[in-house]
């Protein structure tokens, strides 16, 4: 039997330094922790008071869980309105987004500066949260679904413009050149080459946005527009927790259903 006689008294440390490791990440984590600490100090939250009221939270959930279906007609009509607003705003946003996406993509019209200008404008529209637009539309158009649709449309259009422009730009230049060589105009190229090849990402984006718009719609009721959000906010403020519980549950179920539906659709189109 051969015994290893030349083993060192103290084994050397094996270097496993990962060559691809990024040296910036530890610095980033430290910076994040420091900034978060500063933010918490700036906010100066009343931790003790918050903690002392946490037991009440259980009570609220207990009350919400006592579902109250007596006013189901009101809840269902509000839910239907919310769904309609979400769908219509997504649809009109998609139409406008296709139109403006054409201008925002580099490879459709090839006019220097146009794409940049359009992109910058929509970046600003996208940066302002949706409820702000809805509030402003409510001032112009009055209460009702029209204000909700128009307000959501602003943000949706801005989102789709960016997303569609990106999908258009992903199309290989060879495809476009082949059509150009046969003498097709720019709009012809867009309709026959760009749009068909970008259909799959467009459907995926529509699904994603429909989900977002439904969640946003549920929010809108709380800042004063109608819909299911109003039922939730009103129910909680008037201590009708059972009704609010039903509304929240329905929002959750519908949001999950929309998500599942588009996951299935995307799988089918791949």
């Amino acid at each position: 039997m051969i015994l290893p006689t030349d083993t060192p008294a103290r084994p050397e440390r094996i270097r496993v330094g990962c060559a691809r490791g990024n040296r910036l990440i530890p610095a980033f984590l430290c910076g994040t922790a420091g900034l978060a600490l500063l933010c918490l100090l700036y906010l100066d939250l009343p931790w003790l008071r918050l903690a002392s009221r946490v037991p009440d939270l259980g009570g609220v959930f207990w009350k919400l869980a006592h579902l109250d279906f007596t006013r189901w007609e009101l809840i269902l009509s509000a839910l239907l309105e919310t769904l309609c607003v979400a769908l219509l705003s997504t649809f009109y946003g998609m139409l406008l987004g296709l139109f403006f996406g054409m201008f925002a993509a580099d490879n459709v019209f090839r006019i220097r500066g146009l794409a940049r200008t359009v992109q910058a404008f929509f970046t600003f529209l996208r940066a302002v949260p949706t409820p702000v637009w809805v509030l402003l539309m409510m001032v112009c158009l009055g209460m009702g679904p029209a204000a909700g649709i128009a307000g959501l449309c602003v943000h949706t259009t801005a989102f789709f413009t960016r997303a569609f422009a990106q999908s258009f730009e992903d199309i290989p230049a060879e495809t476009l050149e082949a059509l150009e060589a046969t003498g097709v105009g720019r709009v012809g190229v867009f309709l026959n080459a760009v749009l068909p090849s970008a259909l799959a990402p467009i459907v995926a984006w529509i699904g994603m946005r429909l989900e977002i718009n439904f969640a946003e719609c549920a929010i809108l009721g709380m800042v004063g527009a109608g819909g299911i959000g109003f039922v939730v906010a009103n129910g909680i403020q008037n201590y009708e927790y059972g009704m609010a519980g039903v509304a929240i549950l329905l929002v959750f179920l519908l949001a999950t259903a929309i998500e599942r539906l588009f996951v299935l659709l995307r799988r089918r189109l791949r």
Binding site: C18, G21, N22, L24, I25, F28, T32, L35, A36, C39, L40, Y42, L43, L45, P46, R49, L50, R53, V54, L57, G59, V60, L64, E81, C84, V85, L87, L88, F91, Y92, F124, A127, V128, P129, T130, P131, V132, L136, V139, C140, L141, P145, A146, I149, A150, V203, A215, A218, I219, M222, V223, G229, V232, A233, I236, Q237, I248, F252, A255, L269
Partner: protein, 268 residues
């Protein structure tokens, strides 16, 4: 002209698209009927609309009365602090929860569907609904906005982190397990180095989302710039409101630019 026969999978794809857009149009028709929304209404009323824009809205006015501008800037900082602090706290919590949400990593695989289900439930309820539930028990204020943002972003990140963990190769974890590494050792030496890039990217995305969300949560009583903006709109002071909207836009664009830059630098 000759009609070309397309390969069957292309035909199937075409059918799917046709059905999808047909259903979409049908639903749009039904919704238009139900809500009575006329898509040309905003265009027909464009005179009132432009009058509102040009007279009530433009130009933005900076409030000059002493303390007003300071209060606005202060509320903007509160909004940022709320968003960033909640994202960071939520990221730490989400990391710990995600360890138990991924079936292949978790020491208790039985528990994984439960954690995932809870996260899905919390994620599909918008942050504002959480804020309302919390307001009724914890009272109104910045603290509640902070907690509401924490819940929604934590639920989002649990899902994202768990997916990241499932996405990376499990070989290193298995080999660490086979040499007898404990669960914390496996996480620190096997999981973290492989997943850190993905985690950071999702965290930055969450910060971007939270900035917008914290402005919105502020509107219903969470404090910050949303509350200030809401009060200016409600008091018909649209010139100042427009100034605040510009400020919010600038904040969001600046944060997006910084996170985009960080993402590029960190993924190199």
């Amino acid at each position: 002209m000759m009609k070309m026969d397309l390969p069957p999978h292309v035909q199937a794809e075409r059918r799917t698209y046709t059905v999808f857009f047909a259903i979409l149009l049908l639903l749009v028709g039904l919704c238009t009927f139900h809500t009575g929304f006329n898509p040309f209404a905003p265009l027909l009323e464009h005179e009132a609309f432009w009058a509102f824009l040009s007279e009530d809205f433009f130009p933005p006015r900076i409030p000059l009365r002493a303390g007003r501008l300071g209060a606005i800037i202060d509320s903007l900082l509160v909004t940022f602090a709320m968003a960033f602090a909640s994202a960071t706290v939520a990221a730490v919590l989400a990391f710990l929860l995600a360890l138990f949400a991924s079936e292949r990593v978790s020491p208790l695989p039985r528990l994984a569907p439960v954690v995932r289900g809870l996260a899905t439930f919390a994620r599909n309820i918008p942050a504002l609904v959480w804020a309302f539930i919390l307001f009724s028990s914890l009272g109104i204020g910045t603290g509640v906005g902070f907690v509401a943002l924490c819940i929604s972003s934590c639920a989002f990140m649990v899902r994202a982190f768990a997916d990241t963990m499932e996405g990376v190769t499990q070989d290193s974890l298995e080999s660490l397990q086979s040499v007898g590494a404990t669960f914390p050792q496996r996480v620190i030496h096997g999981l973290l180095p492989a997943c850190m890039g993905g985690f950071v990217s999702w965290f930055l995305y969450c910060v971007e989302v939270n900035i917008r969300a914290s402005a919105v949560v502020g509107m219903v009583g969470g404090g910050g710039v949303g509350l200030v903006l809401f009060s200016y709109i409600k008091s018909f002071n649209y010139h100042v409101a427009f100034f605040i909207i510009l400020l919010i836009g600038a904040l969001v664009i600046a944060v997006d630019a910084i996170t985009g830059w960080l993402r590029r630098e960190l993924s190199r």
